[in-house]
């Protein structure tokens, strides 16, 4: 099995030679993933917080739905969004299919339930007595909410890293909505699946290693932010 050592060798080559196609794939991966993550965070963090913090009728049902969506197959998300953004679909006039923004829509939907459910989970895992004590000590509801957010800020960081990992490694949405277009919507994962279908296994492994390296760098950065935040 020379594939693996060959792959390692090629991965280094791709990075050191500043290979155009590889860097374009890295760029497409990072920009679509981070854009999707930002959108999912803007929508998901407040929603998740509400779901974990407030009590209202239908809360359990909503939570159940969000938890179920954690298991949403990426290909199905791709298919549903595809139907909406194809030229003949309801959002057809925007020409989103086979573009990065089209891909971002699918990836945001993929990341959203992760952020909502896990944020709610983080809020719920806080000791209930904290909140009661703060209230008896005369804190206003706003102060209590702010305190809660402060307490779970590192959990939220973890939630976002998890969502990032899910989006950056998925291939179904990127392939269906992006179309794996060279120098445009070809991401690391669709490039890997292309190289595999071409029988270039070593090249596929090389790209996979580069993807892992990126994930490592992102996690390393976040760990660093976290340490700085604590200091």
């Amino acid at each position: 099995m020379g594939y693996f050592s060959d792959g390692m060798h090629k991965a280094l080559g791709l990075l050191l030679n500043m290979d155009d196609a590889t860097f374009s794939a890295i760029q497409a991966t990072l920009s679509s993933t981070s854009c999707a993550l930002v959108i999912a965070m803007i929508l998901g963090l407040p929603l998740g917080f509400l779901l974990g913090y407030a009590s209202f009728p239908g809360k359990k049902a909503l939570r159940l739905i969000s938890d179920t969506l954690l298991a949403f197959p990426t290909v199905l998300i791709g298919l549903i969004v595809y139907v909406f953004i194809t030229y003949r679909g309801p959002l057809g006039q925007f020409g989103l299919l086979f573009t990065l923004p089209g891909m971002v829509i699918g990836q945001s939907i993929l990341a959203l339930p992760i952020i909502v459910s896990w944020t709610a989970q983080a809020v719920e895992s806080l000791d209930k007595r904290c909140r009661e004590t703060l209230l008896t000590l005369g804190a206003s509801p706003l102060q209590v909410a702010l305190y809660t957010i402060r307490e779970i800020r590192y959990d939220l960081g973890m939630v976002c890293v998890t969502a990032f990992g899910r989006v950056v490694t998925e291939v179904g949405v990127a392939m269906m909505l992006g179309g794996n277009i060279r120098y445009s919507t070809r991401t690391m994962t669709t490039a890997i699946s292309l190289e595999t279908s071409k029988g270039e296994f070593a090249q596929g492994i090389a790209l996979g290693l580069v993807l892992l390296l990126i994930a490592f760098l992102v996690n390393f950065l976040l760990a660093w932010f976290r340490r700085m935040g604590r200091a």
Partner: protein, 273 residues
């Protein structure tokens, strides 16, 4: 949210959500996997872009899906290889201006032991022997051009293997289908380009070999088609026209002829002069 969080979020946003700059003239092409996987498109695209000033983008899917994408107006032009299906597509009014540009051929590959004894037979006889011997046969099963060619061959032999246990419908690309055939010691129909790449990778340990080739029934014609602008107002007919003219002109035809994979010519230009 703390200061670092804000900086991080801002940086992410700036990095990612800036609108991509679109070139003025872009053509979206839906094509079959073989033109991409063989490397032909990457070889031709730079010349096309230089000569016409049009940026060519493509999605590589099976011929069936490529036609479907064009029906939905999501591609301007097509490069596909399933003549019967294409003609129906044109008759139904979805596409216009179909021009033949090149061909290559299919081959039937199988285990070196050749359990159904089909070496040297015609395609029709070979399929009959596979059917009678209940020897394994792996089909693409994905509505690709190769799949529809295979179905047409079975039909021409008046056989229907669909429900037979020896008939494996893979639902995967050509390279994966060959890998399955090798694992299972089965026969398969493949385009020659993918076969050359596969055989080259496997080297001496390749359990498969070509058993039937050179039959006129195995001819594989590639054509370009323009999505009907009357049905899809977003299609750019003038760009599509330049695209089609480019494929059939002698210089491009020569380029196609010169393209070699592992030292072998892969596509044979045959545009109408």
């Amino acid at each position: 949210m703390n200061h670092f969080g804000k900086t991080l979020l801002g940086a992410l946003f700036a990095l990612s959500c800036a609108a991509p700059v679109q070139a003025a003239d872009t053509l979206m092409m839906a094509t079959t996997t073989s033109t991409q996987d063989s490397g032909l498109l990457e070889y031709l695209a730079p010349t096309f872009e230089k000569e016409t000033g049009i940026e060519l983008k493509w999605v590589a899917v099976g011929t069936g899906k490529a036609l479907e994408i064009s029906k939905n107006c999501d591609a301007d032009v097509l490069l596909v290889h399933a003549p019967d299906v294409e003609k129906k597509f044109i008759e139904d009014g979805y596409g216009i201006d179909r021009r033949q540009i090149m061909y290559n051929d299919f081959v039937i590959v199988g285990p070196k032991a050749d359990p159904a004894k089909i070496a040297g037979k015609t395609t029709a006889e070979a399929l009959k022997s596979i059917y009678d011997a209940k020897a394994g046969f792996v089909s693409r099963g994905d509505k690709s051009g190769t799949h529809s060619a295979e179905l047409a061959l079975w039909k021409k032999s008046n056989l229907n293997p669909d429900k037979e246990p020896f008939y494996i419908s893979a639902g995967q690309g050509m390279m994966a289908t060959l890998a399955i055939a090798a694992e299972k010691g089965a026969y398969a129909l493949t385009d020659r380009g993918t076969w050359i790449k596969y055989a080259n990778k496997q080297g001496d340990s390749n359990p498969l070999t070509i058993v039937v080739e050179g039959d006129s029934a195995l001819f594989n014609q590639y054509s370009v088609i323009t999505t009907n602008p009357a049905l899809c107002p977003n299609v750019k007919p003038s760009l599509a026209g330049r695209f089609e003219d480019w494929w059939v002109k002698p210089e491009t035809q020569k380029l196609i002829e010169d393209y070699k994979l592992e030292g072998k010519q892969l596509f044979f230009p045959n545009a109408d002069k």
